[in-house]
């Protein structure tokens, strides 16, 4: 009984729209015939599978995940281990600084990172001073910027989770290993990493899903040069729906992206399910 308002909202606004999305993906629909879409079956899907730009966006999304997620996790882990060594009084200041990119609105954060690279920006200046050429927004540089921004914006999450996880590591374990003559590196390898194993899985899955649906930063960074090659799948879907006005096709793309993410999502959900039933 207590559940009903919440369940109702979720059914009406999450389950039902997903089904609507599948239905819409089988219609030919533009802004002109919203009220009378034309049923075309699976034609939209065939068109998407044939769309070179879609596959470019797919490749870039996968490359992005393959580079960004390991980078975020390893930098986050490294900083968490280092932070663990510092006296707790100083930690607060560092944590405040580290969390800044995480708390600020993604669009604002992206604009701020972009400011560094604008003409007259401090990094653009350093770039020119060191390399002798001007920093310009090209396909390659925008792609690197998207990666750099994701490292800046998304690392705080693994960092803070790993750091909190390290606080639950009993001191005795470390001390015992010291007596056995273990070096610091071996401690990290044989005590800290096994201790955090389940958190690595958790953070990894969440980071992959977040990287998969990255939109805001790519939107802001490609605004200046809409080179389609630097688009991720979400952005291409967005442009297909809002600029090209092919709503049926865009819905087909979003159905395809949902099906693709199930590869990661299903293990994640199974894991959560097992944990919750055990906890019960």
């Amino acid at each position: 009984m207590f559940m009903s308002p919440s369940l109702l909202v979720m059914l009406a606004l999450m389950v039902f729209p997903l089904l609507t999305s599948i239905w819409l993906s089988m219609q030919y629909m533009t802004f002109r015939n919203i009220n009378a879409p034309e049923f075309v079956g699976l034609a939209n899907y065939l068109e998407v599978f044939d769309d070179r730009k879609f596959w470019q966006a797919f490749t870039f999304t996968m490359t992005f995940i393959a580079i960004a997620v390991p980078a975020q996790i390893s930098v986050g882990f490294l900083i968490a281990v280092l932070l663990d060594q510092v006296s707790s009084r100083i930690r607060g200041i560092y944590i405040a600084a580290f969390l800044m990119p995480f708390i600020v609105v993604p669009v604002v954060g992206t604009l701020m990172v972009k400011q560094l690279f604008e003409s007259g920006g401090i990094v653009a200046w350093a770039y020119r001073a060191l390399l002798g050429s001007r920093f310009i927004f090209t396909e390659q540089s925008v792609k690197s910027l998207i990666l750099l921004h994701s490292l800046w914006a998304a690392t705080p999450f693994p960092l803070i989770v790993f750091f909190a996880g390290l606080q639950t590591l009993p001191d005795e374990l470390i001390e015992a290993s010291m007596i056995d003559g273990a070096t610091r590196l071996r401690q990290v390898r044989h005590i800290m990493i096994p201790h955090l194993r389940s958190l690595f899985v958790f953070v990894g899955l969440i980071s992959i899903m977040d990287a998969y649906r990255v939109f805001d930063s790519v939107f802001v960074l490609t605004e200046q040069n809409p080179i389609y090659k630097a688009e991720v799948m979400m952005l291409y879907t967005f442009r297909t729906a809002m600029s090209v006005q092919r709503l049926g096709k865009a819905n087909a793309m979003s159905v395809i992206t949902v099906v693709m993410i199930l590869v990661v999502l299903v293990p994640f959900l199974l894991r959560t399910y097992k944990e919750q039933t055990e906890e019960r």
Partner: protein, 334 residues
Amino acid sequence: MRRIENRYALMVIYALLTIYAFFSVIPFFWTTIQSFKTPRQANSRVPLFIFEPTADNYTDLWLKSIPDDPLLVAAALVAIFGFLAFLGMQAGRFPFPRGYVYLGILAVGFAVLWSIPGFIRTQTFYDYFLNTIIVTVGAICISISIGCLAGYALARYSGIAGVIILVTALGFRSLPGMAYILPYWWFGQRSGLYDTHILLIITLVAINQPFTIWMLRSFFMNIPKEIEESAMVDGANRLTAFLSVIIPIMWPGIISTALFTLLLAYSDFLLVRILTQSNWTLTVAISKYAAGEDPGHITLAAAAAVSAAVPIIIVVFIFQSQLVKGLTSGAVKG
């Protein structure tokens, strides 16, 4: 003997941490500097750190024309909001419950914010700011009230169905938002709700609901069952026991969850971008400044970014302990 005591090793650690901290904050630092420059200074070949600051970017962004006596207006606004903040800090001293004091302060504060365009000529940026307040406050109120009921039920009910609901909700939350937003757009177009606050609020509530019930449930689970049971022995039914006994001790959890809902609603870009045409929130409004041809766009973009970041930084600063509590407790539990 957990920590490294070698002095040189420690120095390296501090150096690395400081470099990373610098990497984290430099965009904030630089953007703030840029926002106080003239376009000419901002575009200079060598970055300027010493210059005569100007507030022109901010006044251009927020105001159509500067009022006749800007100092008087600014002083009046600072006095009003300072007084409200002071009242908020002294809320415990009034002869009636704190809740009424906070509600009264919020009502007066909103009334002042909404009456400002009556005597100062503000830009549309200010309207976007007001939109943001409506949408975030609306989303928080609805989301927390229905989320509390659901979170409480899920915390007390231990059947398998509860777990299935929770996990399914999490699954829906983890899907790319685009899958819902395009149908919302279509629904908005057909029902005529497109470009209204109501559509934004209910869709934001729906999208944030899984997260809200997960978080509130974990807070409710920390409250022992005996508390409401003893109230129910005294003759209260479950709903009254919930409202009069459980909710009052849940405030820290509710504030923590509300804070995360605020961050989510405030920073949502895709949903607001697709579902509105002119009733933008700040987040969508500032993305307009991402690109531009005229040399002034850099400083204006900087001022817009700082303006949108400041409210959230103030909120986070006030509630930082709740935020860190929510972040770490939720995360470590998995």
